[in-house]
C-alpha cells in the first residue's frame, strides 16, 4: 500500500511539473501559464516528488528506498506521458484526484494506526537513518 501512496504522489508531482511547462499547459487550458502559476505548479510538483521520496525512504530504508523511488518515477512518468497524449484535458483533474486519493489514504492510516503512526509524521523521524530494516517488505502492511 505504501508503494501505491508513493506512486500516486509521484504521479501528482509529475502532472504539476508538466502543467508548469507551456507546451503542456496549452494542451490542458487555452493560453500560456502566468509566471505566478508556473512557480506555484513547480513548487507543487517538487512537493509531490519530495513526499513520495520521503515515503520510500521511510518505509524501504536508504538501500531499497531510492531504487523503489526511481522505479515509481518511471511508472508515473510513462503514465503522465500517455495521459498528455491521449486525454490531455483531464490531466489537471487526474492530478487533483491523485492528491485527494493520497489524502484519503493517509487519513485512513491516521485513523487505523493512531496519529503517532501516521506516515506523514513518521517519515520525519530520521533518527532511524541509516539503520537497516530487518523485514522491509512486511513493514508497510502494518502501517497502512
Amino acid at each position: 500500500m505504501m508503494e501505491l501512496l508513493a506512486l500516486v504522489l509521484a504521479y501528482a508531482g509529475f502532472v504539476a511539473l508538466a502543467l508548469a511547462m507551456n507546451r503542456h499547459h496549452r494542451q490542458v487550458w487555452n493560453g500560456e501559464a502566468s509566471e505566478h502559476t508556473r512557480i506555484l505548479l513547480r513548487i507543487a510538483g517538487a512537493a509531490g516528488l519530495a513526499s513520495a521520496f520521503a515515503l520510500c525512504i521511510r518505509y524501504a530504508g536508504w538501500s531499497v528506498g531510492p531504487v523503489l523511488m526511481l522505479g515509481l518515477l518511471s511508472a508515473a512518468g510513462i503514465a503522465v506521458v500517455l495521459l498528455l497524449t491521449f486525454r490531455p484535458r483531464i490531466a489537471f483533474a487526474s492530478g487533483v484526484v491523485a492528491v485527494l486519493f493520497a489524502g484519503v489514504m493517509s487519513g485512513y492510516a491516521l485513523v487505523t494506526n493512531g496519529i503517532a503512526k501516521a506516515p506523514i509524521l513518521q517519515k520525519l523521524q530520521f533518527h532511524h537513518w541509516p539503520a537497516e530494516r530487518t523485514q522491509p517488505q512486511e513493514q508497510p502492511e502494518k502501517v497502512l
Partner: protein, 533 residues
C-alpha cells in the same frame, strides 16, 4: 569527423545503436523476462507442488542435510539454498567433491520443501534458461557468448552517453509525445522511453559490464596477479577472503546439530532470514558450518556466520561489507539482479526492463522511418534499409513470438521425450528463424501486421493451452489464490491484448492509406475522363 561535436555524437549514436541493436533487443527482452525467472519456472513445471505454507527453516535444513548425508557422505562441501531468496526455486541442495575426480563428485538436486524427497519434474530449461540467455546466449560457447554480450553492452553504454549528449531538449521534451507525426513521433517515443528510465538504463548497462569485468579487463588483473587461470583464482580468493581455510583432518566425527546454529542466526537476523547454509568437510573433525543471511537490499553479499562443525561454537561473523570496492561491485550486481525486490519493486524492475526493450525497438524503427522519409523524394531503397526493416520485424515482434513458442513447446512436448529441455529451446529458435524469414517474402507493412496477429494468437491462447494440458488453469489458480500461476496467465493475456491492439491499429492505418490512395486515383480518373465527355 562530421562538422561539429554534436553531429559526430549523433553519428556515433546511430551506428552503435543500430549495429548490435537486435542483439541488445534480445538481451533486454530475455533479461526482462528473467526478473520473473522463478515465476516462469513454476509455470513451466506445473507438476511442482505449490510453495509450502511456511515450512520452518530448521525443518527444511535438517531434511536437506539428511538427503545430502545419503547422497554424498564424502563430499568436500555441501550447500543448501532456501527458497527465501528470489533466485532459488524450492529447496536446493548441491555438493562438491574433492581430489582427482572432483567433477564427477559434484551434483545438485531439488527437494520437496515438505517431505525432503527429491522432485522429478518434467525436463525443462524453465525461466532460468530464458534468464541465462541474456548473458549466456544459446548454442555458442560460453566465453564467446560473454564477449559478445560484453561488446553489445559496451555499444549500449556508448549509445546511452551519446544519446544524452545528442538529446537537445532533455527537460523541455520530458513529457512530450506527439502522435501521428511519422518520424517525429518515433523520435519522441524513443526519447521518452530513454529519459523516463535513464537511471535504470545506465545502471543495468554498467553493472552488466561489471559482471564479467574480470574477463573483459583481464589485463588489469594480470598486471597485479600475472596471467593464467590460477592467478585469476588467487585474485578472487583474496577478494573474497577465502584464503584461510583449514585442511581436512580425515578423522570421522559426527556433525553438530544444526538447530541451535540456525536459532542463533535467526536470533541475530530475524526469523526466516537465513538464505543458505554451507558445510565444509561434513563429518570431519575440521568441519565448518557457514550460515548466510538473506539480502534485504541491493548489496547482494550478506553477513555470514561461521561455526565450528563439531562443537557448534561460533568462530566468526563475516560482515556484509568487507571492503569498499567490493561493496560497490556487490551493490551494482545486486541492483542488476534485483533479487532483493519484493512483488511491487519486481514489477517496477520488469517495467523498467520493458521500457529499455521498447527504447531499443523504437530506435531501430526510427532508423528505417528516417530513411523511408528521405526516400519519398529520391526513389529506390538501399539493400541496407530493406535488411534493417526485415530484421526489425523478425526481432521486435518475432522474438516475443519465439519466446511464446518456448512456452508452447513446454506444454506440447511429451514428458518422456529424449532431450526434451533442449527441444524447448530449439522450438524457440526455430520459431525465431521462421519469423526472421517471413518478412523477406512479404511487403513490410503486411509483415508487421501478420506477425502482430500471430503474436496475439500465441500469447492470447497460451492460458487456454495451459488449461487443456494441465489442471492448473487460470480459474483454478485464481480460486486457490496462487498468484504466481495466475499472474503468468494474466500477463500472457495482457501481451496478447497489446499485440492485438497494435495489429488492429496497424491494419486500420494501412486500410486508411489504401482508401486514401484509391480516392485520389478515382478522383484523378474522373478528372481525366471529363474532357472526353
Amino acid at each position: 569527423m562530421k562538422d561539429g561535436f554534436r553531429q559526430s555524437m549523433a553519428w556515433l549514436h546511430t551506428w552503435t545503436g543500430l549495429l548490435l541493436g537486435w542483439v541488445l533487443f534480445f538481451i533486454f527482452l530475455t533479461g526482462t523476462a528473467g526478473y520473473f525467472d522463478t515465476e516462469i519456472d513454476r509455470w513451466m513445471r506445473p507438476e511442482f507442488p505449490p510453495p509450502a505454507s511456511q515450512v520452518q527453516t530448521v525443518k527444511m535444513l535438517e531434511r536437506a542435510v539428511e538427503r545430502l548425508q545419503a547422497k554424498a557422505p564424502n563430499a568436500e562441501r555441501w550447500r543448501v539454498s532456501l527458497p527465501t531468496d528470489h533466485g532459488v526455486v524450492g529447496l536446493n541442495v548441491s555438493w562438491r567433491g574433492s581430489g582427482h575426480d572432483a567433477a564427477a563428485a559434484n551434483g545438485s538436486e531439488q527437494l520437496d520443501q515438505n517431505s525432503g524427497e527429491p522432485l522429478k519434474p518434467r525436463a525443462t530449461g524453465g525461466g532460468q534458461l530464458l534468464y541465462r540467455m541474456h548473458y549466456r546466449l544459446h548454442y555458442l560457447p560460453t566465453t564467446i557468448s560473454y564477449w559478445l554480450v560484453g561488446i553489445a553492452a559496451m555499444f549500449m553504454l556508448v549509445a546511452i552517453l551519446t544519446g544524452i549528449i545528442v538529446h537537445r531538449k532533455f527537460f523541455v521534451d520530458f513529457f512530450t509525445f506527439r502522435q501521428r507525426k511519422g518520424q517525429r513521433s518515433w523520435l519522441d517515443a524513443h526519447n521518452v522511453l530513454a529519459v523516463m528510465a535513464l537511471p535504470f538504463h545506465v545502471m543495468i548497462t554498467y553493472s552488466g559490464l561489471i559482471f564479467f569485468a574480470y574477463l573483459y579487463m583481464a589485463p588489469v588483473i594480470a598486471a597485479t596477479y600475472g596471467f593464467g587461470e590460477n592467478s585469476q583464482r588467487l585474485y578472487f580468493d583474496e577478494l573474497e577472503g577465502r584464503l584461510a581455510r583449514p585442511a581436512r583432518a580425515n578423522t570421522q566425527v559426527p556433525l553438530t546439530p544444526l538447530a541451535p546454529l540456525i536459532a542463533e542466526a535467526e536470533a541475530q537476523w530475524g526469523e526466516g532470514r537465513v538464505r543458505s547454509l554451507e558445510i565444509l568437510y561434513p563429518g570431519d573433525s575440521q568441519a565448518q558450518v557457514s550460515i548466510s543471511q538473506t539480502p534485504s537490499g541491493p548489496l547482494r553479499r550478506t553477513a555470514t556466520m561461521v561455526f565450528n562443525g563439531v562443537s557448534g561454537a561460533l568462530i566468526e561473523v563475516k560482515p556484509a561489507i568487507r571492503s569498499t570496492p567490493k561493496a560497490i561491485r556487490d551493490t551494482l550486481l545486486g541492483l542488476h539482479e534485483g533479487l532483493f525486490a519484493g512483488p511491487v519493486l519486481r514489477w517496477l524492475y520488469f517495467l523498467s526492463g520493458s521500457i529499455g526493450t521498447a527504447m531499443i525497438a523504437t530506435g531501430l524503427v526510427l532508423w528505417t522511418v528516417k530513411r523511408r522519409e528521405k526516400l519519398k523524394r529520391t526513389g529506390e531503397p538501399s539493400f541496407g534499409l530493406l535488411l534493417v526493416e526485415r530484421l526489425n520485424i523478425g526481432t521486435v515482434v518475432g522474438l516475443p513470438i519465439a519466446i511464446a513458442a518456448y512456452f508452447w513447446a513446454n506444454r506440447l512436448i511429451p514428458a518422456g521425450v529424449e532431450g526434451r529441455a533442449a527441444w524447448e529451446a530449439h522450438a524457440m529458435f526455430i520459431a525465431w528463424t521462421g519469423m526472421l524469414l517471413h518478412p523477406i517474402f512479404r511487403p513490410v507493412q503486411r509483415a508487421w501486421i501478420e506477425q502482430c496477429w500471430l503474436a496475439t494468437a500465441v500469447f492470447g491462447l497460451l492460458p487456454m493451452l495451459n488449461a487443456l494440458t494441465t489442471n492448473r488453469h487460470l480459474a483454478a489458480s485464481l480460486a486457490q489464490g496462487d498468484w504466481v500461476l495466475a499472474g503468468f496467465d494474466l500477463t500472457m493475456l495482457a501481451f496478447g491484448a497489446a499485440f492485438g491492439c497494435t495489429a488492429w491499429m496497424l491494419s486500420r492505418r494501412a486500410r486508411d492509406r489504401v482508401t486514401r490512395h484509391e480516392t485520389l486515383l478515382s478522383f484523378a480518373a474522373c478528372k481525366n475522363a471529363e474532357p472526353a465527355e
